[in-house]
């Protein structure tokens, strides 16, 4: 028998540095395993606050933590900036883009989701979604460019289109975006323009179901709608987008079709699994749901492949209710911790009961001073809910990286009603630099484009 101390440690490879992947890595910190975390990006993004970047309240770095800074001090963890392109479950190997293959003993896939346009991918350019830092900066650029363009537009009809903001999708992201844009238009920017009255802006929140925040209890949805109304947001439920073309959104409410001219259209309506879902389905025979998420076993493993786990937004876990667990941070965190625990149990020859999500509640912010909180045993809205929202977000934000600065920035924004991060930065100037940048190789241009294409495909 071989001395165990001479064997190389159990290799755990985690793909994706979101909430699921990082929580798994953290929970394995003292385990007798070697952890390799692979991510395309060098930072973890606190997505629940991404809408604040998109609306100019915070900077990307305020809500991002370098992955190396988070787990670089773990003695058993290694960070690899790369992209997984394929998997070989038989040989327990991952193929990386432009890197050598890596082996795993246990694989945790936590690559999340991207936007879904329900078969209308041509809308993407006109109605960007909000998943990445780049998305947020693009949305920020569009929002503030719209006000500047309106200021210069002499034609009243065209000006109205510049001052119309349509948010498609009444889930938490849509609600948060609509509230924040309304505050910009009706409060923050009010005295800063000379030719336009920013308070004439129209902020429309469209939801296909019969109420916004559909997963919440009906009374909270109703209160959220009242709060949004007070902020100046027009909420339209049972309203479907049927077309987006030439800055005109066509919506259907019952039998009525209406065309809304709007220069800023934001997509918060649907998500689709990242490309790893498809790869897993092909290589392991795993079943995917309609959104491309991997249907997992009660222990979060892929059916027939007990060394491969899928966690977070990419996983479809239906063993607790008939509906899959929602794609929110607390689910991903608990799943990451569960798999880390299961790996350690298995190494000792033990087992663990199936995963069980403990729902501590959900919350969504509507604007300055207003939020809705559903703690299961209690539901409330308004200012107290807003304080809970602030507290919970600060608590989780500082966990990885002490983002003291965000607290100060929030306090500052709150008391001054200012919004300092509303830079219109031009990614286009950048393209010029890239184009000049021939033969350097420093810029993995094709990788980035390909990976993006892949997600969209």
């Amino acid at each position: 028998m071989v001395d165990a101390s001479l064997q190389s440690p159990h290799q755990v490879v985690i793909v994706g540095g979101g909430f699921g992947g990082l929580y798994a890595a953290k929970a394995l910190r003292r385990a007798p395993v070697q952890v390799t975390l692979v991510d395309k990006r060098n930072f973890h993004l606190f997505q629940p606050l991404l809408y604040q970047v998109a609306t100019g309240a915070l900077s990307p770095a305020d809500i991002a933590s370098p992955i190396r800074a988070v787990i670089g001090s773990h003695k058993n963890a290694k960070v690899l900036l790369s992209e997984v392109v394929d998997i070989d479950p038989k040989q327990q190997k991952l193929m990386l883009r432009d890197e050598e293959d890596i082996n795993y003993d246990t694989l945790i896939v936590a690559t999340g989701v991207s936007h879904h346009y329900f078969g209308n991918d041509q809308w993407q350019g006109m109605a960007p979604g909000l998943k990445t830092v780049e998305d947020a900066l693009e949305i920020r650029r569009r929002i503030f460019t719209a006000f500047e363009a309106a200021e210069k537009e002499p034609d009243p009809e065209k000006r109205r289109a510049w001052l119309t903001f349509v948010i498609v999708g009444g889930g938490p992201t849509g609600v948060e975006l609509a509230g924040a844009i309304a505050e910009l238009a009706y409060k923050t920017l009010r005295d800063e323009f000379q030719s336009i009255n920013t308070a004439e802006a129209k902020v429309l929140l469209l939801e296909g179901m019969e109420r916004i925040l559909p997963p919440y209890p009906p009374e909270l949805s109703a209160e959220a709608e009242v709060s949004l109304g007070k902020l100046g947001v027009t909420v339209r439920t049972k309203t479907m987008v049927t077309d987006i073309v030439d800055n005109i959104v066509t919506v259907r409410q019952g039998e009525n079709l209406e065309k809304i001219p709007a220069r800023t259209i934001l997509w918060a309506a649907g998500v689709k699994a990242s490309a790893m879902g498809k790869v897993l389905a092909e290589r392991t025979g795993a079943k995917l749901d309609r959104a491309g998420r991997v249907i997992v076993e009660p222990d979060l493993s892929v059916p027939g492949h007990d060394k491969i786990f899928v966690i977070g937004d990419l996983a479809n876990f239906t063993h607790q209710n008939e509906r899959p667990l929602p794609g929110i941070a607390p689910v991903a965190m608990q799943e990451g911790e569960y798999v880390a625990k299961l790996i350690q149990k298995r190494l000792k020859g033990n087992s663990l009961p199936p995963f069980n999500y403990i729902d501590a509640g959900s919350l969504a912010v509507i604007g300055r001073n207003a939020a809705v909180v559903n703690l299961n045993f209690a539901r409330f809205s308004g200012f107290i809910a807003w304080l809970v929202w602030v507290f919970v977000h600060i608590y989780y934000l500082v966990e990885f990286d002490n983002k003291l600065v965000v607290m100060i920035q929030w306090a500052w924004n709150y008391f001054t009603r200012k919004s300092g991060a509303r830079l219109i930065t031009d990614t286009v100037l950048q393209q010029k630099i890239e184009a000049n940048h021939n033969g350097n190789g420093n810029v993995p241009v094709d990788i980035a484009i390909k990976s993006q294409l892949k997600v969209e495909a």
Copy 2:
């Protein structure tokens, strides 16, 4: 005689929202004039701290203030997000890109400078300079990508090239960049990589003259060199770059030619006037110096055109010393205030003595705890100089927009040695979005590219 109150107020048009333009607008706040500030960007950038964005210590919004937030509350000021493409001095008119012409009674041109590659514009892609937010983000991306690439590179020679950082130009920007990169390599990132020792990185600062910080007194240059050496920076003076190709910098020191393989090359060596210099020369017959700056009269006006002023980095003012005033913020600020005062005097039929720059001293930071300060009556370096540097920068930074957050961020970075803003963001993903974005018109793509081309031409 026409009643003066019925006449439209004196129209002052300021082109450029840097230190010069904003100080002029602020000084005219209570003057009986109508001010229009035209800028391509919607924010003022605190350029002296741009190197901190490039090295991941601060976010762009930390050092940028929306121009509307700064002067939007002035009753007599209007902000126009646009670009001046031509000027007609006879008709006192400015031609804007995609906007109607605007008239001026007095024109203040403060459009600054961009990089200068001394006839080697092909170096630009390989050795970006640091003037805009986009430049800073591109440099940040290259620096942190280099460490990530080194971590994955098995070939020792290639790895060495990834870990070699060459900064061309030993002025304040070059010194600050070199110091900050050395601190990243030898302190901040030290424990976060597994395959490489970041302390093996080489940071080279190249200066063509016989000492770094040439405009400073020689003893301060010497002390700066000692401080940089302690941080781990290799300073090479009397060293000229003769070629940059395929990630190899060729340098000449006396008769010696040397080829240095380096994947990160940063340009801090020279500046060139913005395009407005050429336009002014063509339309007014103004003389330009070798860098393209406009040679101005003792009152900062263009010779023969007493209604047109040039201030800030774009102006060459030689009436005080034989050398032109340096391109630094204090010069621009004082020039902006002078012209504002002169306009008010003229409206009352009075005059003003020629502009006289009051040099309060100059300072450059070298790294954590070290700086050099030249107050004319006193010169010092080290920790006290660093405190002076911090104080002065905070003082001016909070002037336009209370950037309390920067202070907190600095304190945090200082005590933790962390550097939270080191995101590798991909402007390339963005291009994909733009490409999809056909027919929207929301994105002034061609404008941005054209304006960039113009500056480079």
